[in-house]
């Protein structure tokens, strides 16, 4: 891999680490991926890849590739059968040292596991031994062709199948499949070198049903029918060198729309959505034009495809010459709120096409450059399309978000450099995960990372000007496109990879400026700056004495030294001052330009040249200062807490034209509940010219102020008369005008005001009756018949307003909530909610926004004790088959419920169809709103939960990096870094470890554990939770199976029980099975009930958590149920070489005979890791592995595998 050498030149830091690997890494120049069978029924894929490898060293004897999940049938190198081994340490991170339960330990083990297969370091899960006959060829540097046949069965990562359960053919049902993943995840669906820095050209072939379309990267060369005319083969060629990680695929019965302005752009959507697609895509060409213009560079690929899929992993994912979007971004012309969001997603996707897909990164440490540039040019698009106000608002929002995260969690490091001394190995000790690899990052951290990256790009722009910035981008792009047209010469292709070093070099070449300090401060260092500012005015000297202090001791902060801009608005005008923040100087004297003179009536010039009349009566007679702003341009990644008088904030709000300043002053005014603040906010609300988001913010601030001023408040409730004046009929002020929504600013204000008003409280801390009736009237008189826009978002916000108006019920002790004792107002609210929710069933709103709001409202009613707390409603809405927004809202309610630790009943949510996005949401919501934290004692915090969560992150989520990191996050939130306190003292565990290391079967502890913990919970919760009980039975069964090899029958039962949890559509037999179990437990229940009722609360909430975990608990690699024989049969028609059949099927049948040996595998693997020579060459190793992985649960293995021929020679 020559690029490693290149990198060595450019970033010397890497040199010493990497040189040792360079010797072993060959370079792939071309790869063929051919998938010749996609079976939607079985959710399986069969195909082969062929990599053309250019050995850069003599004596190339091993080739390492990345592959996860794939079942590999055979590997041939230049037509010679090659032995291979398959070892994926990330499948199970910590082996049987499982008693550790310590996150520090896990994180380091996980990092080690990921490093062990890191393609950037030349590693991989799949190691192929080059046949010795070819070694000589290596001498002559001839290319090697590595041919790998593989299949995927029910993949859990990499490819996602969506198969709706309705009548009809797959095409009629709208079944589709698409690739997904977080960072480089292509290895999940075909063997490759899964690195962003490994570029090669591609030939992609997909044979699909004639009614389907296969969309992939590159140019569609031709589509050919198969001989039986029932299938089509799509031939794609991608001549531009591209990393495997940027390859994607989606297959489905898509409707096709050719972009009318640019015929090389094609859009695909699911059946029936074409009208929405037409509308949503109607402005894409503008985005294209914008980027091409600012970058002065053509779009690099010869075509572009957008595919809209259901159950998408993320809203937007970009791949070479195509992007996969969530179908939920599509909207019709009637929808207001979604329109800008969809446009933004498109713009993001397109920005990533240039930087991220076409230009790839040299290494993970350079990721920030790509994310930064694509985020930055996306920002430019925002500025151009949505205006400067929106842009500045966005920048402030991103900055605040990032600063908040860093202050809370510790710094975000853009450019981690590893490998100095051993001590400096972990540059971010404050984090509970390693940032060495993208795959170990917490999702939230990665989001903030992207955020910071584009903010830093903006800082660079501030420093060197936008013109130079764009020139740099243009330079990068033109170098890359020159390189891309070259034939394979690795040193040329490396021009298509960007590194921090090369980026900085072009900046200094183009601009001639040294941005070293800036990079050092924000890129090489983590954390942000926290300023505290205050001032005093010295009348004698006519000087402003400004004091700026810094907090650089608390976590996530750093010290800033350098210039800072301060803007002072005086009576005579606005003046910018640049101060130097130095080590010890806190005070800065700023001379004022104007004498105080408030008697003269004169217009006051503002920053933008405008001159305005002001009522100066509020200000201090002696001081000419109107307001002061620190770092107004956000050119430091900082948080500023500045103190100035309330009237100064009010002036700032009224007269400063910058939206950021306005928003800052709104935030500050919350602390000054005075009539003057009220007036200033009301004035802003009424001002049409003011940015609508500022006005929205003013609404909420006004509500807060009104609440603080409760006793002195005069007149009608805040905003009521304002709303009446703006949106109600002139003749009858209690009736709202019929909706038109022609002016979007008014529309957004109209939506927000009721929500803010509902936050008002009277002296009894209730929502004023006036306000509630007002909102109810708004709902009643809402009339959308004459409107060309949909009012779904507006109605949803009105429901939100009702939710906001709720206050805790006056509870009479221990009273059960019934219909009769429902408070009158609540009854009205409930009436509205019921009606709206019911109407949604008949006339569903766009994205079911109203259902979502209603669910939130019902949860709020429960939480406040108006109606009995009961999660069953939410659980039913959380089931598969509802719109994803609804599911997430329902799950949020359930999570919230779990936190409340109420008594709970069944959680069927675990049968959730495993849509990665939804599972991700569950985990992150649990993390955000945890049922307990490490600080607090909780009955939920027990050993079983720890075990379950541990299992989840250890092995249950190996198919999705993001999920695993989510699980780690949750574990961290719940238990912290160290060993959870609820666990017994570790001594016993350590002994156990030692024993296990020796691979001695330890029957005493584990079987005990099974019945003790799991069954106990099982029984207590049994009746309520059939789903859980099955899982529990499964685990106890598998535990007992550890002791003795299970009989075949038992095994089968196990599988069938696991079945319904894993598959979306349980077969009849499986359902029966489950009912049986629940019945069985029902009988038990009768005896337990009375005693157990009190116990229910902790247990049930716990059940919920268990449930979520159980969803994920399925084996990471598929292929457990249908035994290997089946698989072989399946492969029969496709495997091209008949000679291999015999071998294949015999060996696999042999295999199934060997069933009971599989549990020994883990021990085995561990040994293998330690001593390299004990390696399996058997090509069924991978299968072995896969079969095994579902037996990860405590199977104390004997450690000796009877038949495992070794590859070592």
């Amino acid at each position: 891999m020559n690029r490693k050498k290149d990198k060595g030149f450019e970033t010397p830091l890497f040199l010493n680490v990497l040189t040792c690997y360079v010797m072993f890494i060959p370079h792939t120049t071309h790869q063929v991926v051919c998938i010749n069978n996609i079976n939607f029924q079985r959710k399986s894929v069969i195909g082969f890849v062929e990599l053309t490898i250019f050995p850069t060293v003599v004596n190339l004897n091993r080739i390492k590739l990345n592959s996860k999940q794939c079942r590999i049938y055979r590997v041939r190198v230049n037509d010679l059968e090659a032995p291979f081994i398959y070892n994926d340490p990330t499948l199970e991170v910590c082996h049987h040292e499982s008693k550790q339960r310590n996150l520090n330990y896990f994180s380091s083990a996980y990092t080690a596991a990921v490093s062990a297969v890191d393609p950037d370091a030349g590693h991989g899960e799949l190691v192929i031994k080059v046949p010795s006959e070819l070694w000589k060829q290596g001498d002559e540097m001839n290319v090697l062709k590595v041919y790998i046949e593989f299949s995927l069965d029910q993949p859990k990562g990499g490819l996602h199948f969506v198969v709706p359960d309705v009548e009809g053919s797959m095409a009629e049902r709208g079944a589709h499949v698409f690739s997904f993943g977080y960072q480089n995840s292509t290895r999940f669906w075909f063997p490759c070198v899964d690195s962003y820095s490994e570029l090669c050209t591609w030939k992609l072939e997909f044979t699909v049903d004639a009614s389907m379309v296969a969309v992939s990267c590159g140019d569609l060369v031709e589509t050919v029918y198969t001989h039986d005319m029932r299938k089509k083969t799509f031939h794609y060629v991608l001549p531009i060198p591209t990393a495997a990680s940027n390859i994607s695929l989606s297959v489905g019965p898509f409707e096709i729309l050719v972009e009318p302005y640019m015929h090389e752009v094609t859009h695909f959507c699911l059946p029936q959505l074409l009208p929405l697609l037409k509308h949503s895509m109607s402005y894409l060409h503008e985005i294209f034009e914008f980027y091409e213009e600012i970058l002065t560079c053509r779009y690099p690929y010869s075509c572009f495809k957008t595919v809209f899929v259901d159950e998408a992993y993320v809203q937007v994912s970009s791949y070479a010459s195509m992007s996969i979007f969530s179908t939920n971004l599509l909207h019709s012309a009637m929808i207001i709120d979604q329109t800008p969001l969809t446009r933004q997603c498109l713009a993001q996707a397109l920005a990533q096409q240039f930087f991220g897909c076409f230009i790839s990164r040299m290494s993970w440490a350079d990721e920030w450059v790509l994310k930064g540039i694509s985020g930055y040019i996306y920002g430019l698009y925002l500025k151009k399309t949505f205006g400067v106000n929106q842009y500045r608002h966005w920048i402030k929002e991103e900055l605040d978000k990032m600063v908040e995260y860093e202050l809370k969690m510790g710094g975000v490091l853009l450019h981690p450099t590893f490998g100095g001394g051993k001590d400096k190995d972990n540059p971010t000790p404050h984090l509970h995960f390693s940032i060495k690899h993208p795959h170990t990052l917490s999702w939230k951290y990665y989001k903030m990372f992207q955020c910071k990256a584009h903010l830093v790009m903006r800082l660079i722009e501030n420093r060197i000007s936008m013109e130079f910035m764009l020139q740099v981008f243009n330079k990068l792009l033109s170098l890359a496109s020159t390189a891309s047209s070259q034939k394979y010469q690795s040193h040329m292709w490396s021009q298509m990879l960007v590194s921090t070093h090369s980026f900085l070099k072009s900046i200094s070449n183009v601009s001639g400026k040294d941005i070293g300090p800036l990079i050092k401060q924000w890129v090489d260092q983590s954390a942000v700056v926290k300023f505290f500012g205050s001032f005093a005015f010295n009348r004698k000297r006519n000087v402003l004495e400004l004091e700026i202090r810094q907090d650089y001791t608390s976590s996530g902060t750093q010290k800033y030294v350098g210039p800072i801009k301060v803007t002072v608005q005086e009576l005579d005008g606005s003046f910018n001052h640049t101060l130097q923040i130095e080590e010890n100087s806190l005070k800065h004297d700023i001379p004022c330009h104007s004498k105080s003179r408030r008697n003269k009536k004169k217009k006051i010039p503002l920053m933008n040249g405008e001159e305005v009349d002001m009522d100066l009566s509020a200000m201090d007679a002696d001081s000419p200062l109107l307001w002061i702003r620190i770092d107004p341009d956000m050119s430091i990644l900082r948080k500023v807490e500045f103190e100035q008088a309330d009237f100064m904030w009010q002036y700032q709000l009224r007269y400063e034209r910058d939206v950021v300043a306005q928003e800052e002053s709104i935030l500050a005014l919350e602390k000054f509940p005075t009539p003057a603040s009220r007036l200033a906010l009301t004035d802003i609300l009424e001002q049409d010219q003011c940015f609508y988001k500022v006005r929205q913010g003013a609404c909420f601030c006004l509500a807060k102020i009104a609440n603080s001023m409760m006793s002195t408040w005069t007149g009608p409730p805040a905003m009521k008369s304002l709303f009446t004046r703006m949106f109600c009929c002139k003749s009858c002020p209690n009736i709202v005008k019929t909706n038109t929504f022609i002016s979007f600013q008014s529309y957004f204000l109209q939506k927000t005001m009721p929500v803010a008003m509902a936050q008002l409280r009277d002296i009894q801390n209730l929502c004023p009756k006036d306000v509630l009736n007002f909102i109810l009237d708004l709902i009643k008189y809402n009339d959308n018949r004459k409107n060309k826009f949909s009012d779904n978002y507006y109605r949803a916000e009105l429901i939100d307003a009702l939710t906001n108006s709720l206050t805790p019920a006056i509870s009479i002790s221990n009273e059960v909530r019934t219909v009769d004792n429902l408070n009158g107002d609540v009854r009205l609210i409930l009436e509205e909610i019921t009606r709206s929710l019911n109407m949604e069933k008949l006339l569903p709103s766009y994205r079911n926004t109203i259902t979502v709001s209603c669910l939130r409202a019902i949860r709020m009613l429960q939480k406040n004790g108006h109606i009995p707390s009961d999660p069953s409603l939410f659980k039913s809405y959380a089931e598969y088959g509802h719109f994803v927004d609804v599911r997430v809202a329902a799950l949020e309610a359930v999570v919230d419920y779990t936190r409340g630790m109420h008594r709970t009943s069944p959680s069927e949510v675990s049968r959730t169809h495993p849509i990665p996005y939804v599972v991700h949401k569950i985990l992150s919501m649990l993390g955000k709103n945890p049922p307990f934290t490490k600080a607090a004692e909780s009955p939920l915090c027990n050993e079983a939960l720890v075990d379950q969560l541990w299992k989840l992150m250890n092995s249950g989520t190996s198919h999705d990096w993001r999920l695993r990191c989510d699980a780690v996050n949750l574990y961290y939130t719940l238990f912290g870094l160290t060993r959870p306190s609820c666990l017994p003292l570790p001594e016993l565990g350590l002994v156990l470890n030692l024993k296990e290391k020796k691979a001695v079967l330890n029957p005493t502890i584990k079987p005990e554990q099974g019945p003790d913990t799991t069954e106990m919970t099982g029984i207590t919760m049994g009746v309520h939770i059939p789903g859980l009980i099955t899982m529990e039975t499964v685990s106890s069964v598998s535990m007992s199976s550890g002791v003795a090899p299970p009989p075949q029958g038992l095994k089968r039962k196990l599988d069938s029980v696991v079945g319904p949890l894993g598959s979306s559509s349980p077969e009849p037999g499986q359902v029966l099975q489950e009912e049986d179990t629940s019945k069985k437990f029902k009988i038990r229940f009768n005896t337990v009930e009375e005693d157990e009722i009190d116990m229910e609360s902790p247990h049930d909430s716990q059940a919920f958590i268990h449930h979520h975990l159980n969803i994920l608990e399925r084996p990471s690699t598929p292929g457990k149920e249908p035994p290997a024989v089946d698989q072989a049969v399946l492969s029969l028609p496709v495997t091209p070489l008949p000679s291999s059949f015999g071998k294949e099927s015999t060996s696999s049948s042999k295999h199934s005979g060997d069933h009971h040996h599989h549990h020994h595998h883990h021990e085995h693997k561990k040994k293998k890791k330690k001593k390299h020579k004990h390696k399996h060459k058997h090509k069924h190793e991978s299968k072995d592995k896969e079969r095994d992985s579902h037996a990860f649960s405590n199977s104390p293995a004997s450690g000796r595998s009877a038949r495992s021929p070794s590859m070592s020679d």
């Binding site: 309705v166 049902r173 004639a210 379309v213 031709e222 589509t223 050919v224 029918y225 001989h227 089509k232 096709i256 050719v258 009318p260 015929h263 094609t266 699911l270 959505l273 037409k278 109607s282 259901d310 939920n328 599509l330 909207h331 019709s332 012309a333 009637m334 009929c729 003749s731 009858c732 009736i735 009339d783 004459k786 060309k788 949909s790 059960v816 909530r817 019934t818 219909v819 009769d820 019921t834 009606r835 929710l837 019911n838 109407m839 069933k841 008949l842 569903p844 766009y846 994205r847 079911n848 009613l861 009961d870 409603l873 089931e879 598969y880 088959g881 509802h882 719109f883 994803v884 609804v886």
Partner: protein, 317 residues
């Protein structure tokens, strides 16, 4: 006058018939339920039947079918009615309101009846005397609808002249109520109407289908229509409902200011359904006059619109 005539005849004619009995009994049954006005009419009609029957006997018939008697009764009734109507018309023609004898005579003459023969006929020997119809309350003439204020006579018209009729008969006739134009009321009404419809509909759906409840004690309070998982949930969530589409069409037809729409429509037609056109373009390749649309279509060179190739025959080697 007609009434007089009738009475005269009734007084003179007296007859009884056997079949009359069931008739009475039948009507007796009906009596209880019928209104005074109906009773009045029934009695008259019955007398007419008696008259017809007696005349038939007079003419020498021994029996008659019921249907015949009915027909004859009908004829005689209509004859008498016509006489009455005409007489009334004559009298009104001469600006009176009560018919006089001469009006009747003229009428009878006009209808081709020789009045001179009437006295003779009335005094014929074999005539039968018929009992007078039972006394029933004369039907209350429903009060004429009084709409508006009747005008009083102007000074030059003596007071004994008839009153002015209702103004609506000669000034104007308001046949509908003035629509409520008060905006507030209209909105109020529309809102409550919509709410009622919605509530009724959802209640109905809730009653007829499965429900979920928020309360354990009272399952019927605030019933929620049970959620039903759909296999393709995004369709209903993303596609606008028919109702919304309808509204959109209405508003669009009224205002054509939507830029994107006007931009899009011609464009969209271009590639409306590529699948169909793909085949068309293949078919039409040899045809003489290619449509404009097809020629534009063929300009779009997009690999996904190209026809699928047939497999090569020799490929399998």
């Amino acid at each position: 006058m007609i009434a007089c005539n009738d009475d005269e005849k009734n007084d003179e004619v007296t007859v009884h018939f056997l079949f009359l009995k069931d008739d009475r009994s039948r009507s007796g049954c009906g009596k209880a339920t019928s209104s005074p006005a109906e009773n009045y009419q029934l009695a008259r009609r019955r007398t007419l039947q008696v008259v017809v029957s007696s005349l038939l006997t007079e003419c020498g018939f021994e029996s008659a079918e019921k249907a015949t008697v009915e027909s004859l009764t009908e004829m005689i009734q209509s004859y008498i009615s016509e006489v009455g109507r005409c007489a009334k018309a004559y009298c009104e023609h001469t600006a009176r309101i009560t018919p006089t004898l001469s009006d009747t005579v003229v009428t009878l003459n006009e209808m081709g009846f020789n009045v001179d023969t009437l006295p003779g006929y009335a005094k014929r020997s074999q005539r039968m005397v018929i009992t007078a119809p039972p006394v029933t309350n004369a039907p209350v003439i429903p009060k004429a609808l009084i709409a508006g204020q009747k005008r009083t006579h102007p000074s030059h018209i003596p007071s004994h002249f008839p009153e002015f009729p209702d103004p609506h008969t000669y000034i104007k006739t308001p046949t509908f109520r003035e629509p409520v134009s008060d905006y507030q009321v209209v909105r109020e009404k529309a809102a409550s109407q919509r709410r009622d419809v919605e509530r009724a509909l959802t209640r109905f759906m809730a009653k007829t289908g499965e429900t979920q409840s928020l309360f354990k004690d009272d399952v019927t309070a605030f019933p929620l229509i049970a959620e039903r998982p759909s296999s393709i949930p995004y369709l209903s969530a993303l596609l606008p409902s028919e109702l919304e589409l309808q509204t959109l069409e209405e508003t669009d037809s009224s205002e054509q200011d939507d830029q994107t729409d006007s931009e899009n429509t011609p464009v969209n037609n271009l590639n409306d359904d590529p699948g169909a056109d793909k085949e068309n373009s293949v078919l039409l390749a040899g045809s003489v006059v290619p449509l404009v649309k097809v020629s534009e279509e063929s300009m779009i060179d997009n690999p996904y619109l190209r026809p699928v190739k047939k497999p090569k025959v020799r490929r399998k080697k």
